[in-house]
Amino acid sequence: MNGTALRKELALLPWERKIAIALMLNRIGRQLREAKPLPVRNLRPRAAKRARAGGER
């Protein structure tokens, strides 16, 4: 199933279900925003170096 087909299928769900999903998405988003980043020491050396330098390059 591609993205467009998935969107169309999801649009056909009952409104009650879509509201419940939206509120779940809100909650997941909040949890992700509030999640603490992994400590640098848990990363492998190269990834740790990248993280110390400010993230992905």
């Binding site: 199933m1 591609n2 993205g3 467009t4 087909a5 998935l6 969107r7 169309k8 299928e9 999801l10 649009a11 769900l13 409104w15 009650e16 279900r17 879509k18 509201i19 419940a20 999903i21 939206a22 509120l23 779940m24 998405l25 809100n26 988003g29």
Partner: protein, 200 residues
Amino acid sequence: MRSDRLARWLAADPGSESHSLGPGATKGCAWRALLAPALAALNELKRLGHLSEYALGGGMGAMRYTEPFATFDLDVFFIPSVKGISAGIPGMYGYLKKMGHAVVKEGILIGGIPVQFLATDPLTEEAVRNAHSVEYAGVKTRIITAEHLVAMAVRTGRKKDAARIEMLCGTVGIDKGRLRAILARHGLTAAYAKITGRKQ
């Protein structure tokens, strides 16, 4: 997660034992009726004459027609029952606070959902008057039509409104003639062409 697995996950009952969010995911609330307390309160406000008519718009209203997406509050467009700059909002808030609902930022929290009240102008009044009557978990309510939601998004014109227009036009059978008439009536034809990059 592959999209067919995602579709199955989203379509499953989020409160069920088998759902990966776990059986406690919707603890303390019947997920089928999350908006029911807010909608019942709106109907009560109408019955008591605090507002003369209302309809749901914004993200939660648009979701009637589109796929689900993250949205934070319930936007209620209402035709005030009293004329004047306050539009009867102090009376509505007074009643809702008396019923134990808390005021948060620019809305009021009803059954855990932030509800924002927006008094109508000519476009939104037309939208409220032409709204569909629907039922949500046994509670009657009204939702603004997809064509009026598009026109309202065109007028607001933020990036998320452009995305919402794409969603509404992409997933719903929009009545193009009706949309064209609404846009023309409210002087939004050029704004629609600009925001969507397509001619009507």
